[in-house]
């Protein structure tokens, strides 16, 4: 039995794949170092992330997989649910050990599962692109906070960069304490140890940090939302299917009416 630990990065995980092939020692479990429990049985392999090795694994996968299948593997990493490391490993092993392409073989459990995870993560990404609400601060920054089910922040950056090229904006993931900041030239990941906002405030800035027109536009948006509705067609079930309650915290139109 071989227990692999790694530093939690995607490159680290790819290095694990490399090491396992090097030793022909297939992992019983793969875990981030800080979470790993020392085991009485079997051997623990501490893998140090090695960019060169990670790259070789990635290039190997690239030769055998389409761009969208590669993307699915990365999405599985961002999925973060228990067992994702093993799944990525098993998928990679299936790819390397099969003489022919395995892509689209939904009769193989790993392939189907990765495809389903891709769908889940993609949906969350799309929801964040839809439900993020920026609030303009007095110094002209458009700020939003999120706490997505999966770690989709790296996936939504491109979308917002293209869309808001002419305004400074920041999105902060309150549950992972990671943020991105676009300064009109480039977007950088920032880890805020003491952001102006605590997670408990659920992403709302204090109103004294607002731009002078911020409240007005939030209010106009609420007015619009109320008046675009057709009461004769009310359909709460459909409404909730589209915006499950856990997303309401982002939406200014779902907050108490401003006066």
């Amino acid at each position: 039995m071989y227990f692999y630990t790694y530093d939690g990065s995607f490159e680290g995980l790819l290095t694990v794949v490399f090491e396992a092939y090097e030793r022909k020692a297939w992992p019983t479990a793969i875990e981030p170092e800080q979470l790993a429990q020392p085991s009485m049985f079997g051997e623990t392999v501490r893998v140090m992330t090695d960019e060169g090795k990670a790259n070789r694994v990635w290039l190997g996968l690239k030769k055998r997989l389409s761009v969208s299948a590669l993307e699915s593997l990365y999405y599985t990493y961002l999925w973060e649910q228990s067992g994702f490391e093993r799944l990525i490993f098993d998928y990679a092993r299936l790819v390397f050990d099969s003489p022919e392409s395995v892509e689209g073989n939904y009769t193989a459990p790993f392939i189907l599962q990765v495809q389903q995870i891709q769908k889940q993560v993609h949906r969350e990404k799309h929801r964040m692109e839809a439900f993020v609400r920026f609030q303009k601060t007095a110094d002209g920054l458009y700020y939003a906070s999120i706490s997505p089910d999966f770690n989709v922040l790296p996936l939504i950056v491109r979308h917002f960069e293209k869309r808001y090229a002419d305004q400074r904006w920041a999105i902060y993931d309150t549950s992972r304490r990671d943020g991105v900041y676009y300064d009109l030239r480039a977007t950088n990941f920032v880890r805020l140890e003491n952001p102006g906002v605590t997670p408990r405030q659920q992403g709302k800035l204090n109103t004294d940090q607002y731009d002078e027109n911020e409240t007005r536009y939030q209010m106009l948006w609420q007015v619009y939302f109320d008046h675009v509705n057709i009461p004769e067609r009310k359909n709460p079930k459909l409404h909730l299917r589209h915006i499950p309650k856990r997303y309401w915290k982002y939406l200014s139109e779902k907050q108490p009416r401003l006066q």
């Binding site: 395995v102 689209g104 073989n105 939904y106 009769t107 193989a108 189907l112 389903q116 799309h126 692109e129 839809a130 439900f131 993020v132 609400r133 920026f134 609030q135 303009k136 458009y142 939003a144 293209k162 869309r163 808001y164 090229a165 002419d166 305004q167 027109n213 007005r216 536009y217 209010m219 106009l220 948006w221 007015v223 619009y224 939302f225 008046h227 675009v228 509705n229 057709i230 009461p231 004769e232 067609r233 009310k234 359909n235 709460p236 079930k237 459909l238 409404h239 299917r241 589209h242 915006i243 939406l251 200014s252 139109e253």
Partner: protein
């Protein structure tokens, strides 16, 4: 707080909401001028109303003053409602500020007709022009084309807008004449035809010259009201078919009539025909994405869609001789015709069966919904169901049998009928 704009927004959003289109997809406008917005990809619904409709665009009228008196329209001249109008700048400010906060994908601007068609159209164009040229706005713009507006204005509108639409309003010329005496089909079809020609021309030119200015890259659409007049579903779907084929429309939207008027020219209804509208949309989808001909969906013997079951199931029950379909060998087109199997499932099936013969368990794991499909398919010649039900028995089994519940919508509507009765 600027109460004036709030008051206007209430009135002019209220008046615009019966226009159902909220699509923001199909635009190809990239943000390559370091401006604001990007409309290349697929559409995004930023919110949903309590009636479950997508909110993607700021959908408003420029004004609800109107010289026309169309019986079905809340903005008709004779209706006693408060009238107001936005200035061009007010619409621009709302659009930009909503967009910057990620509330919307763009603007859907329509209008009541003040003075005349050209006067109104000119203002709509001015809003779009200002957004594109002064604000460097690359988000989505959908402009309503006012019937009777000049060709030059429509052409200019197409330069700034991603989508143009002219509403056909009602499913037959006769209905239009009785309910909207100032309008007629030829006046509506004329701009539709001219937009089509422009679209074709722009496409041809872009093949020759790279820098051809874009013309309404997301195409044109139209809308008609269902249930205000007596047309059958067959008449409605035939009209849509003609519009798709003859005018290259991207979409025909169907708006279940919400009684906004007690005008004696209208059918008397108390509830919007939500289920009927839904069935018509399903039929429309079958024509556009599932390879169905309109004649297969409705014909002389079945001029109206079955409200209880979807039109694909309806077709399958009338055409049992095509079934069962063997999942492991049938063509994609035929798998797509199996009730309950959609485009995604059909593609997965085609992909997976290259590797191994498929069983029902594979289908379940792939997420194929078998509730209806199981009556119409075999996997390696095995079936999950005895296949000897007649169509009427099948219909009943699918609707009521085996714990299958009717859609919440249907139950809701039936409750309403009972209450009304």
């Amino acid at each position: 707080m600027n109460d004036k704009v709030i008051g206007k927004l209430k009135i002019l959003a209220d008046a615009a909401k019966y226009d159902v289109s909220c699509s923001s997809s199909g635009g190809k406008r990239k943000n390559d001028n370091k401006g604001l917005g990007n409309a290349e990809g697929m559409g995004i619904c930023h919110s949903y109303t309590e009636d479950g409709r997508c909110v993607s665009l700021l959908k408003i009228l420029l004004t609800n003053f109107c010289i026309y008196d169309c019986a079905y329209c809340v903005t008709r001249k004779s209706n006693d409602v408060q009238r107001t109008a936005f200035t061009v700048q007010e619409v621009v400010d709302l659009t930009i500020n909503f967009y910057r906060r990620n509330y919307i994908e763009g603007l859907f601007l329509s209008s009541g007709i003040f003075k005349n068609a050209d006067y109104t159209m000119e203002r709509l164009v001015r809003v779009a022009k200002k957004l594109r040229q002064e604000e460097k706005f690359n988000g989505y713009i959908h402009l309503k084309t006012i019937p009777g507006a000049s060709d030059e204005l429509i052409k200019e509108a197409g330069l700034y807008a991603d989508r143009l639409s002219v509403n056909i309003e009602l499913p037959s010329e006769q209905s239009l004449q009785s309910l909207a005496p100032e309008k007629n089909y030829s006046e509506i079809l004329l701009p539709m035809g001219s937009i089509k020609d422009q679209l074709v021309q722009a496409k041809e030119e872009s093949k020759l010259f790279k820098a051809t200015p874009k013309f309404a890259p997301a195409g044109q659409s139209t809308q008609l009201i269902v249930g205000a007049t007596a047309e059958s579903d067959r008449q409605i779907l035939q009209l849509s078919d003609q519009l798709y084929k003859g005018y290259n429309l991207k979409r025909v939207y169907y708006s279940g009539y919400v009684p906004v008027s007690t005008d004696s020219r209208l059918s008397i209804i108390t509830e919007p025909p939500i289920i009927r509208e839904n069935r018509i949309y399903q039929a429309d989808w079958l024509m556009r994405f599932y390879g169905f001909d309109v004649k297969e969906i409705v014909d002389e013997a079945n001029p109206n869609l079955d409200l209880d079951i979807d039109p694909k199931l309806g077709w399958a029950l009338r055409n049992r001789h095509f079934f069962p379909v063997e999942i492991n060998t049938a063509d994609y087109e035929m798998i797509l015709r199996v009730p309950g199997i959609g485009v995604k499932s059909a593609k997965k099936i085609i992909s997976a069966r290259r590797f191994a013969p498929l069983h029902f368990d594979h289908l379940r794991q792939m997420g194929v919904v078998l509730k209806r499909a199981k009556y119409f398919i075999t996997c390696q010649t095995k079936s999950l169901q005895r296949q000897d039900f007649d169509s009427e028995q099948l219909r009943r089994r699918i609707l009521f049998g085996e714990g299958s519940v009717r859609s919440a919508l249907l139950t809701q509507q039936l409750d309403l009928f009972q209450r009304a009765g």
